[in-house]
């Protein structure tokens, strides 16, 4: 049986580089803690578009503190661009904290829902691959399977490669979500605590 952990350890370094340096530019994962205020997503989107920065993926959802949301942004750029992105984000009044994640300091996942062509012949093979990748079949139709899979970028890329020959009909992805291995948000939450007393 295929061992995912073994596969992960054995992954092709060149391919990973290609992912990291997509388009010749370094990819970065930035976590942005924002106040849940009117228009905050528009501000951040405008900052990126207005200054010509790239967004590869963007994920936003509330945190434990209902007054704060966390965004995970995957962006590309050279070091100078990234320095500017972080500094410009910092200037936004509604941005409470920014973390630029470096390799190994954080855990990250993405969730994908995809619909694959699956007639009766292909179905079992697809299910077998899903098993190996710990993906879930969430819906079965006569000629299609809907699959949910969670994992790191490498794992998902590999899974999509394997699904490709069957025919991917539709796909929707959350974009990367990330969290530091060590927490640094305590200070920020405290700051918000002070605020909520008023």
């Amino acid at each position: 049986m295929f061992d995912w952990l073994h596969f992960a350890a054995d992954r092709n370094i060149a391919r990973q580089r290609a992912l990291t340096y997509k388009g010749g530019l370094m990819r970065h994962t930035i976590s942005v803690l924002v106040e849940n205020k009117f228009g905050v997503l528009a501000r951040i989107a405008e900052l990126f578009s207005g200054r010509g920065y790239n967004i590869d993926t963007l994920n936003v959802a509330p945190t434990l503190d209902a007054k704060l949301s966390r965004m995970t942004i995957v962006t590309r750029g050279d070091d100078a661009t990234l320095e500017q992105i972080i500094k410009q984000l910092n200037k936004l009044v509604n941005v409470v904290q920014i973390q630029d994640f470096r390799e190994g300091q954080y855990v990250d996942r993405e969730l994908i829902l995809l619909k694959v062509k699956a007639d009766s012949k292909a179905r079992s093979e697809i299910m077998q691959i899903c098993d190996i990748f710990r993906a879930k079949i969430v819906d079965v139709q006569q000629r299609e399977l809907s699959i949910e899979i969670t994992g790191t970028e490498d794992k998902l890329e590999k899974f999509l490669q394997l699904m490709d020959p069957f025919g991917i009909v539709d796909i929707t992805r959350t974009g990367k979500v990330a969290m530091p291995r060590q927490t640094k948000t305590a200070a920020a939450s405290e700051a918000m605590g002070v605020r909520s007393q008023h």
């Binding site: 405008e46 100078a80 009044v93 409470v96 904290q97 700051a191 002070v194 605020r195």
Partner: protein, 613 residues
């Protein structure tokens, strides 16, 4: 209840540092409409004047303003004029300027003024009426998404969605606008919020977890010590300072620093007035149309001390070759300016004034006091002063030729007018400008010695800025002579503000350097496009011998005295008459269009490409 009303008209603002307890009593005691709350908040912020143009979605606010005894409401004749006037007020006074408009077209007309304040870091609060909340998103009459519209050009913005938030929002808006690196803040107030009633609670403090405009980073002292070491080791240092000197009020500290260390000082266009230009250490300003010697000094410097500047392309030209032989030390209040356009060898995030105060305690000049370096710069100064001459080309302009009637030795050169004005006002007036050649000449030929006396749209470069900004500046500084040196193109863009000045009795003067052309574009056409005129002629092509339009008649229509000056000998008496007037005044000075602003470093080029002829 009536007693409480009394408290409202005399709010705690009378004494700026009123005890918080007193400030709170006005609130819960008396139910107020949203519009009244806005006005009360403005009074509490110490606002003395608003430039506001009413409309359907903001008339509630104007109604409330009629009951204010503290705030003067000035009606501009176009919202853009109002926004520029608020900017001019803020630039001249250092206080927050306030402008107001209705929803939709009123708000869109404000945008240029907001963008100008953003580019030049000017504290402005722009209040816009918005359609009622229930109508938002329905493409209602005069509805625009003001929040979205202004997003790229504000420091921060608010759409008020809850009446209870109003006092907090206004307080935050003023705080954000004036602290740190100043900038414009927009407050969009839906009409139903203005009309509904509540018992407001006015906060006494601001809590913004994501905004901490600290005057310096923790490592400032260490950085400054390193900087002081670099100064002692350097042989050819130059101070390059900008708008940060003016907005932080660091001009005295800068003078002390320069005199103590004997380092020459050049400013940016925005920094003009931050260092006295009559001082022996002054190199006036640098960049595209700056002095040869300032640009030469930066080109040859081994240490560039950059204070409150952003390495704008109009200063650096080709940013790679800018100051290529020198170490760059950069101090700015905005961390994002560090390494943005030009990497710094040593950088500190700090308020310019604070940094200079501390630096003055530790910095010393080396024993040679840069004598050789200053002498070398002195040679450049002697060799390349600002200069102009009367060319045959100038004398043969059609309209000039006709007006002079063969007495062409008496032609008026635009630079001469500014020199004369400088002499007559002893360099003590507040000068505002439009954008173009006249703007550059104003910077070149007027000697500024005090901060907040040169008011110009530097970053945005907004034509039409000059006259409304002069109105704002005159309101802020009624004690000063305020003169808009303008071009005929720029002046025309907000010419209607003559009505504001006349009706409100604001004695802002205007000198139009009238060359019947968009002079700066003409200059580029001459230099880079073989002189092909692409819509740069402002006169009447069917009658090029006459001056068009007739500014005498226009001014007369507005009830503003005006005169036209054609001969050189009339310049000084006309300026004297203008200066003697205690009401708005227009001086239409006919100048040739053939003059170029020199020196010039073409866009994107370096010092070696400088044009002096």
């Amino acid at each position: 209840m009536t007693k409480k009303t009394e408290t409202k008209t005399k709010p705690a603002q009378a004494a700026p540092a009123a005890p918080p307890a007193a400030a709170r009593t006005t609130g819960p005691g008396r139910p107020m409409k949203g519009a009244e709350i806005v006005v009360e908040c403005l009074e509490r912020e110490g606002v003395e004047v608003i430039f506001g143009y009413p409309g359907g979605a903001s008339l509630e606010l104007h109604q409330a303003l009629t009951r204010s005894k503290k705030i003067r409401t000035i009606l501009p004749r176009h919202e853009q004029g109002g926004a520029f006037a608020a900017g001019g007020y803020a630039r001249a006074s250092g206080k927050v300027g306030v402008c107001m408009s209705t929803s939709g077209p009123g708000a869109t007309n404000l945008v240029s003024g907001i963008a100008d304040a953003y580019m030049d870091s000017v504290p402005v609060v722009a209040i816009t009426g918005q359609v009622p909340q229930a109508m938002i998103g329905k493409t209602s009459f005069q509805e625009t998404d003001v929040f979205g519209l202004t997003l790229p050009v504000v420091k921060h913005s608010y759409l008020v969605t809850d009446l209870a938030d109003l006092p907090r929002i206004v307080k935050e808006a003023f705080y954000v606008a004036r602290t740190g690196r100043p900038g414009p803040v927009v407050i969009d107030v839906p009409k139903n919020i203005q009309q509904s009633t509540t018992q407001p609670v006015f906060p006494t403090e601001v809590h913004l977890p994501g905004y901490n405009p600290s005057p310096c980073a923790d490592d400032l002292d260490a950085k400054l010590a390193e900087m002081a070491g670099l100064i002692e080791k350097s042989e050819r240092p130059v101070i390059y300072c900008g708008g940060g000197i003016i907005s932080s009020g660091a001009h005295k500290e800068l003078l002390e620093f320069a005199e103590k260390t004997q380092i020459p000082v050049t400013t940016t266009l925005m920094g003009i007035g931050g260092f006295p230009e009559t001082h022996p250490l002054s190199l006036k300003w640098l960049g595209m149309h700056g002095t040869v010697y300032a640009n030469w000094a930066v080109e040859n410097a081994d240490l560039l001390i950059a204070l409150g500047v952003r390495f704008d392309d109009r200063v650096t030209g080709n940013v790679k070759s800018f100051c290529k032989h020198g170490m760059i030390v950069h101090i700015d209040i905005d961390p994002s300016e560090i390494n943005k356009n030009k990497p710094a060898n040593l950088a500190a995030v700090a308020d310019a004034r604070l940094a200079l105060q501390r630096l003055n305690k530790i910095a010393r000049a080396p024993s040679h006091k840069f004598a050789k370096w200053r002498a070398a710069i002195g040679e450049q100064k002697a060799k390349f002063p600002f200069r102009y001459k009367v060319t045959d080309e100038a004398r043969h302009n059609l309209y000039v030729h006709d007006l002079l009637k063969d007495d062409e030795t008496r032609i008026i050169m635009p630079q001469f007018v500014i020199q004369e004005l400088c002499a007559l006002t002893k360099g003590d007036a507040i000068i505002t400008t439009g954008v173009g050649q006249h703007q550059m000449w104003s910077g070149q030929y007027y000697d500024f010695t005090a901060p907040r006396t040169f008011i110009t749209s530097g970053g945005l470069g907004a034509m039409g800025f000059g006259y409304p900004a002069a109105i704002g500046a005159k309101v802020a500084r009624p004690d000063k002579e305020v003169i808009d040196i303008d071009g005929d193109g720029s002046f025309m863009m907000n010419v209607h503000e003559l009505a504001t000045a006349h009706i409100e009795r604001i004695a802002a003067k205007a000198i139009i350097l009238n060359n019947q052309h968009l002079g700066m574009v003409v200059q580029w056409e001459d230099r880079f496009y073989q002189g092909v005129r692409g819509n740069t002629y402002l006169g009447d092509p069917r009658n090029p011998h006459q001056i068009y339009p007739n500014y005498m008649q226009i001014a007369q229509g507005f009830g503003v005295p005006a005169e036209r000056v054609v001969f050189k000998r009339d310049v000084r008496p006309a300026l004297e008459r203008m200066l003697a007037s205690n009401e708005p005044y227009v001086l239409d000075v006919i100048v040739p269009f053939t003059e170029h602003v020199l020196p010039m470093i073409p866009a994107g080029k370096g010092f070696n490409d400088i044009i002096t002829e």
